[in-house]
């Protein structure tokens, strides 16, 4: 991996930012501690020096010299400065040989640098000092070294150099490491995605099993891929079915037309062949139309045209159309729409859905049987439109399958149809957020269209 690429990774940027931030905060913290200590220490020394100067100067002049000597003699740390000068500024006693420049004789404490006049050492150092005029016009100087503060500053700086900067460098190194690791996973993921895009839908992104955030993302992407694969396979299955179901009538047509061209010259025969070819052609066109309708409905765009409508009006319209058909087939047709519901929906589609159910019920019920359309409220308050018949019924094992495109129950395969009616009903029910359920009518089949009541739907 090239370096610039590494520096652009989000993890590297994050660690770099974090390292910089923690270094800056340490710097501020240490600086603040040093500053506060210096202020406090200087204040304390200033107060001490003033008190001492007050005490010494309040004594008689001859005692002062002695005091200075005692003061110096007791200072084993060599932190104290004291000296006495006469009225002409000549050195009398103490460890300063001259009155330091920059120290006015004003009785206030000043921060200065001096040469200490010492037998053993000759030290140039930073002190706080005060110069007091004496009654005999001499000058008393008292001071205290603040070299400790300088030492403190050195320690702080060294700690920073030795502590914070290596820590920052470590953080950056960690960042590089982490980004390298992430980058490797991203590269692996990218390669997998490329393979998937080339059509290998079975590939999945690598999961490390650490259940970190990257893993979680990977897992949900993999789940999405599972779903896509399932849908693609389903579409593939449907396409195969379509091809098969279209091919069957087309092949019949093809065979018959060829045979007629090659053999028959009888006009009556030709008429018959043309009629049968048209029947097959209409069947294939019917399949295509139904498929297009299903995908149009599944698209969901029709929801835009939904309006409030009365389910009893829908059922009444269907009953109006189908009652004579049932009569013609010598079936008892029973309609009871005492419970109704106002729903949001597409009238045309709901009529089509109910009509398909009634059409099926009539188609699969032998003469002398009964088809019953009624409405009731289920225990959850939803209005159910029930279409029940006394026909052959549907085995429980086929309840899900009958909604699949082109599925035709083995028991009813001899009855004409393209096996798309219930898929259409289901698509329409889904579009409306309605449920469609099958149960056993003993005898016959029961189809329930469970309509969401209007208030529930608008709340959803």
């Amino acid at each position: 991996m090239r370096l610039p690429e590494l520096f652009r990774t989000s993890i590297f940027r994050l660690t770099a930012f974090f390292a910089l931030g923690s270094a800056a905060s340490s710097l501020i913290l240490f600086g603040f501690i040093y500053w506060q200590t210096a202020v406090y220490e200087k204040g304390r020394i200033t107060r001490l020096l003033m008190q001492e100067a007050d005490i010494i100067t309040s004594e008689p002049t001859d005692r002062i010299k002695q005091d200075v000597e005692t003061n110096l003699a007791g200072d084993f740390h060599r932190a104290t400065f004291a000296a006495l000068f006469d009225a002409k500024g000549e050195y009398l006693v103490g460890n300063l040989s001259v009155i330091p420049k920059g120290l006015p004789s004003d009785g206030k404490v000043h921060d200065i640098y001096v040469d200490r006049n010492d037998d053993a050492f000759d030290v140039f150092e930073n002190i706080l000092a005060v110069a007091r005029p004496l009654p005999d016009h001499g000058t008393l100087i008292i001071g205290r070294s603040i070299v400790e503060l300088q030492n403190l500053r050195t320690i702080v700086t060294r700690s920073l150099l030795l502590g914070v900067f290596p820590a920052a460098i470590l953080a950056i190194l960690a960042g590089v490491g982490l980004s390298l690791r992430t980058q490797r996973r991203i590269v692996a993921a990218n390669q997998t995605v490329a393979r998937i895009m080339r059509g290998n839908l079975r590939e999945r992104l690598p999961v490390k099993g650490t259940s970190d955030d990257f893993d979680r993302l990977t897992i949900s992407v993999n789940r999405m891929l599972d779903e896509i694969e399932r849908l693609v396979n389903q579409i593939r299955g449907v396409t195969d079915n379509i091809a098969h179901d279209l091919r069957t009538p087309l092949t019949r047509m093809h065979t018959r037309l060829i045979a007629t061209r090659n053999e028959s010259r009888d006009p009556n025969d030709i008429d018959d062949v043309v009629d049968r070819a048209l029947t097959d052609l209409n069947l294939t066109l019917g399949i295509i139309t139904a498929l297009l309708r299903i995908s149009e409905i599944e698209d969901g765009r029709r929801r835009a045209a939904f309006a409030i409508l009365d389910m009893s009006d829908v059922v009444q319209t269907v009953a109006d159309l189908y009652e004579p058909i049932a009569e013609e087939k010598n079936l008892e047709f029973d309609l009871d729409m005492s419970v109704t519901a106002q729903v949001r929906g597409d009238r045309e589609l709901l009529i089509e859905a109910v009509a398909n159910l009634v059409d099926n019920a009539i188609k699969y019920t032998p003469a002398g049987g009964k088809v019953c359309v009624r409405s009731f409220q289920d225990d959850r308050g939803a209005v159910v439109i029930r279409v029940a018949d006394s026909g052959t019924g549907i085995p429980q094992s086929e309840y899900d399958a009958v909604f699949q495109r082109f599925y035709r129950s083995r028991a009813t395969r001899h009855i004409q149809g393209h096996g798309l009616g219930l898929s259409l009903v289901q698509a329409i029910a889904h579009l409306h957020n309605f449920a469609i359920q099958i149960s056993d009518g003993r005898p016959g089949a029961i189809f329930d269209l469970v309509c969401q009541i209007q208030s529930e739907q608008s709340a959803a």
């Binding site: 139309t289 297009l292 149009e296 159309l321 189908y322 004579p324 009238r347 009529i351 089509e352 004409q416």
Partner: protein, 240 residues
């Protein structure tokens, strides 16, 4: 009871109505032209929307048939332009796009009817007839065809002196047939116009309804008025 196609019934009304056909598929255009001219219509055909609109503006036609998917443009744009320019001639839209959304789009653009490809020539002719004669449907209070009389206020039907007892749905069906007297009405037209059914069911729904009505209209010994037209649909006519 059934009449062969090309029979008098189908060509009665077609006294030289002229039709403008805008269709880019030459084979389909040729077939439509042949079917329609055989029934006495005069056809002028153009293959592009531009020519179609130019001819429409000249106005020398009674009805226009326009295909939706033309080479240069959606046929609906011609229709919209025509309606915007206040040309009110009836227009029948042809389309391979069968979704109900597409149909609504076609009707909203100003189409008077929408026919999905492929279609039977009989279906096309029946719809053209219906469009050309539509203007006469005023607000009558009663309808009469030969001995058959329909009172739209009292909702009663009579054939000569015999009162016919009709269910509401049968009344609607008869009213529709009487308003389209001497015209072929197809199954799809009946489903669309009477029951607002936009799809054609697999069962012989319409035939059953017509059969029930026919038994009530044409009593024993009476000359038949409800006729089946082979391969096309049904027609109500006064007995000859």
């Amino acid at each position: 009871m059934s009449l062969a196609p090309h029979d008098s019934a189908l060509s009665i009304a077609a006294h030289a109505h002229s039709i403008l056909l805008v269709e880019d598929d030459l084979e389909i255009a040729l077939n439509i032209s042949r079917d329609l001219s055989r029934r006495g219509y005069s056809i002028s055909h153009t293959a592009t929307a531009q020519d179609g609109l130019a001819q429409a503006r000249r106005g020398a036609f009674d009805l226009m048939i326009v295909d939706r998917m033309l080479d240069d443009i959606d046929g609906l744009t011609i229709l919209e332009t025509m309606r915007a320019e206040a040309m009110s001639k009836p227009v029948l839209v042809l389309s391979a796009m069968g979704g109900s959304e597409e149909r609504v789009k076609g009707l909203r653009a100003g189409g008077d009817d929408y026919l999905i490809k492929p279609f039977d020539p009989e279906e096309l002719v029946a719809r053209i007839e219906a469009l050309l004669r539509r203007s006469s449907s005023a607000r009558e209070t009663s309808l009469q065809v030969g001995p058959l009389k329909l009172d739209l206020i009292e909702r009663s039907a009579w054939r000569d002196q015999r009162e016919i007892d009709l269910l509401p749905r049968e009344f609607k069906l008869l009213e529709y047939l009487m308003r389209h007297r001497d015209q072929v009405v197809t199954r799809a037209m009946l489903l669309e116009d009477i029951w607002q059914y936009k799809f054609v069911p697999e069962t012989n729904l319409v035939d059953v309804h017509i059969g029930k009505l026919r038994r009530k209209i044409d009593g024993p010994g009476e000359p038949p008025m409800v006729l089946s037209v082979r391969r096309a649909g049904f027609m109500l006519s006064a007995p000859a």
